[in-house]
Symmetry: C2
Amino acid sequence: MTEDSPVQVVIVGGGFGGLSAASTLAKAPLHLTLIDRKNYYTFQPLLYQVATAGLSPGEIAAPLRSILRRHQNVEVLLGEVIGFDLDRRTVNLADCEVPYDYLIVAAGAGHTYFGHNDWEAIAPSLKGIEDALEIRRRVLLAFELAERRAVARQPALPLNFVIVGAGPTGVELAGTLAEICHHALTHEFRNIDPARAHILLIEGGPRVLAAYPEDLSRSAERQLKHLGVDVRTSTMVDQIEPGAVRFGNTRLEAAVVLWAAGVAASPLGRKIGVPLDREGRVIVHSDLSIPDHPEVFVIGDMASLKDERGKLLPGVAQVAMQEGRFVANLIRKEILQGAPRFPHSEPEGGNLSRPAFHYHDKGSLATIGRAAAVAEIGKLHMSGYPAWLTWLFVHILFLIGFRNRLLVMIQWAWSYFNYERGARLITGSNSLPGWTGLPNSAPSTPVPQENRSHAAD
Amino acid sequence: MTEDSPVQVVIVGGGFGGLSAASTLAKAPLHLTLIDRKNYYTFQPLLYQVATAGLSPGEIAAPLRSILRRHQNVEVLLGEVIGFDLDRRTVNLADCEVPYDYLIVAAGAGHTYFGHNDWEAIAPSLKGIEDALEIRRRVLLAFELAERRAVARQPALPLNFVIVGAGPTGVELAGTLAEICHHALTHEFRNIDPARAHILLIEGGPRVLAAYPEDLSRSAERQLKHLGVDVRTSTMVDQIEPGAVRFGNTRLEAAVVLWAAGVAASPLGRKIGVPLDREGRVIVHSDLSIPDHPEVFVIGDMASLKDERGKLLPGVAQVAMQEGRFVANLIRKEILQGAPRFPHSEPEGGNLSRPAFHYHDKGSLATIGRAAAVAEIGKLHMSGYPAWLTWLFVHILFLIGFRNRLLVMIQWAWSYFNYERGARLITGSNSLPGWTGLPNSAPSTPVPQENRSHAAD
């Protein structure tokens, strides 16, 4: 590398994959630009805690700039990538182009509604901070509107919460919602009983946490039931409409419907212009580069790569982080060895002089609720309290930034002993799709004062 | 009080006044309904910290339900009051009516744009959590967009922040913004220098903090200038347009314009149907009740009441809290004495059998920035560090809820030693009115790689 300008590396996406790559490259002799459409990194494993009012957004997110500020060769750019020009080697934003010598695309995945995009407004999914705040708003508002109906002596609407999809996110949401209804809110309402809320977890497949071994699935289902969650496996949702869900012959009125089913890779994959798998992931070589472009890597939830036994690597943080570090080390090595700048021709089937990525599986953890979790660490299967403590420890350990770690620990310790949820603010509109506190068309109804309170005794 | 149903007290508004009244009444033999259009109480003196990314919303706000949950005779209702029927004694919401025997209206105040309501979208004011988040979004986004312009080698736009109005809120915002630019963000941008941002505080009157003694105003202005704020007193803003402010012969381009000028009482005052003063406050009797309705009280920023020397009581938290407690004690005493239920006729000029409210002024505190404040406590005038420590102590002490208090203390201690702002998330849209990172109509411009970085050395 003899040109006078440093090698330019561009990373698209500041999640687990992108940030691991960025930190690994931070001390290498190159210039790095990290592009994200948000100015902050989100610790996704704790998003469900924001959605269920246990933590504030600021406690699980940190500005990308702030995380990377000590690395003088790293620049952060807030912007939405709209495409790539692989021949001219630029990343295209709406208003400028950023050139690269190496490109790492790590834009993650979102949810798919399997063609029912109209369901999204009715049943939000949990992917970012803003989704989490919207879910929090809906959950808290359901109780408020139910209370208002009761005060106005309108007939009660069933306080049903439906979660579609029993993967890790669906299980976390269901378990934590049950915990809120049965503990956190019990003493706060005078006219409704939050503990009578009904939490329904609907799963199309035969078991919850399908990616886990069968014994842990069974244990997770037991723990969910113990928390008061109504688990329905092998049940397909046919229709979601404002205020209701249909499955089989049932039409269930629901105050809140949450979507935790299908995952789809970021649509940015399509913009790269190379073959994708069925879930929209980019099919990468064993070194995580794309066909004909050894200078372009795709990592994390966007990449489709099989392990030695032909099994697709799962879309989890561990894979993304290891891939980020692998690619970063590979780039750093090539730069230090003075490899020629790309493009240069490559043999069919990838860059054979590069090593292949190997995923080192450290185990899987899924939390269900207070003192409820499952863990698979090698051959060891754990459930309940020990699994939950492991989960707690690992997640506090990995939370980026000392300040956040300390605050989260205090928050958790506090809420563990008090069953309290500290972040219960309803911001935004005071209405729910299809589920009203009171019918707006109804005439103003006086509240009969003498009968409405059991509180004055 | 011999009827079998308990006396019904309704409080409209869960701010300083309403919540003080509610806590005072919590143990009395009555049934209390607190109505607010938000489900949370906001500690308004620290709102500017949310607007300037120092604290998260959850740290200065707590659910009203949670604050009042131990009081079995208190019920909280989320809802927007649309009017009152003083004859039938009901508070009217869109979808129900709540009857009362006693009513306390404490809906606070908002900002007025002096007839220029179109300025509100361009120059938000700081009244609630949602305003604070919008201001935070704009301030942080201005730096991000400026950085993106620099990366794309577009001509720089002036990074001007204009605050209109130098009362306590305007002074806090200006001082804290200066602190952010000169300290918190200094190491985080590679292509712009946040310290070169220009903070302009425009005040129509001759001095900042006009409600304070002159020596403290002078001291506050000195402290502001020391923090790098450009203070312009006796300057009237003529026009606010997207991306710019006009005053005198100047048209200043501005990334962010914030409004901290005129205060106006809640429009609910008009709905009561009794005389108002010029600022829209309800003119109350010396016992804080309204003419002809001794069972209806108006307190806090909504009430217009003069002290013994004929001076209008200021719209500050202390007044609202003392009024809340005064009215609550008065109601409790009347209930315990078995006073007849209203309506009953009253002598002209108020209920002469009731005592008059007296405001006990404990002093005034205004913070300006890091280690900068002014305080007036009786005859004692303080400035700078001692005033700031007093301010810090008082505000932490009054923050409701132990958990929040502890978290805020840690947050503050941390940011004091590290100049760090912990809550710097940009949520919502990535655009600013009239101020673009890059002109959208401009053609896509490649970034010349070799010149754009001073970061790789």
